[in-house]
Symmetry: C2
Amino acid sequence: MPDKVAAPEIDRLIKLLARLPGLGQRSARRAVLYLMKRRDQLLLPLAEAMQAAAESVRTCSRCGNLDSRDPCTICADPQRATGVLCIVEEVGDLWALERTAAFSGRYHILGGTLSALEGRGPEQLNVEKLVERVREEAVGEVILALSATVDGQTTAHYLAERLEDLGVSVTRLAHGVPVGGELDYLDDGTLTAALRARR
Amino acid sequence: MPDKVAAPEIDRLIKLLARLPGLGQRSARRAVLYLMKRRDQLLLPLAEAMQAAAESVRTCSRCGNLDSRDPCTICADPQRATGVLCIVEEVGDLWALERTAAFSGRYHILGGTLSALEGRGPEQLNVEKLVERVREEAVGEVILALSATVDGQTTAHYLAERLEDLGVSVTRLAHGVPVGGELDYLDDGTLTAALRARR
């Protein structure tokens, strides 16, 4: 179906918006009409917010979090316990855990899981930096907050082995995480329970 | 649920994106993470496309279409029949009709329907301009391509009465439009059939 009916500026905006997860061609068209009707209240502020985020948000060189500072607010916060490190796959998982307010340590973002199918080995993940941090930051406990999928659990096994000789206690999120589920989709209550009952 | 876990630039972007139709808080978070991972390929181009659309896209002073020119490309196209005017509620309806390629006349965008419930009278719609155009542009036929909802049909009745004394033939989209359905959601085939069988 050709979509050359609108001005090129509008067509381009529809095409780009349709690439976002959760939006298709049709919902992107609706979104653009909605935006064009709210030029000053939404379209321009959104353009500026995107520009600002692109300019100022960086990946934390220590933990892999997204923030406008490096080290990120969590890494730089003296109130956060330095002895406990929570390992997550993605920044979205860190956000999910932070919303529970049940964890007061620091994080380390792997950037995904090991995956035989997708050909992702340890060298594609943020693992060496993790080993380095465990050594240098006097970490007493590492919590593996990974998805309860096959790939997530394979990764947890691998990490537990890598950390075995470093004298750090390795725990995992406890029951409460539904098998096959992804962390970012859990409700906060389940996530809190799983964090408290870690083993 | 507080969402103060990320940098203010990210929080602001999530909040603005969540206001788009079809996106909630959760899908906006996913979209922002997706964007942050594709800074140069998607985030910056999207910011620029929004800026460009906000700067150059205007409402056509003749028909109410959105375009970077005024009069819009359709109004300015000498190939389009001037004698036939298709009345639609919104720009999205014009796009839907243009995708069928079954209509070669010009459009007039009302900006909605009459609505007793929402207190929308004729003065809130682009009606005076329509009457003016019918008089000045030697229009022989007006096609009322309005939704088959109560409000849409009330509006069609009202317009047919307003245009009665102007010596213009007033037609409507024929069977094919499902009762209670909205124009923008129709498939192109049904829309084409409805346009051809207008009465």
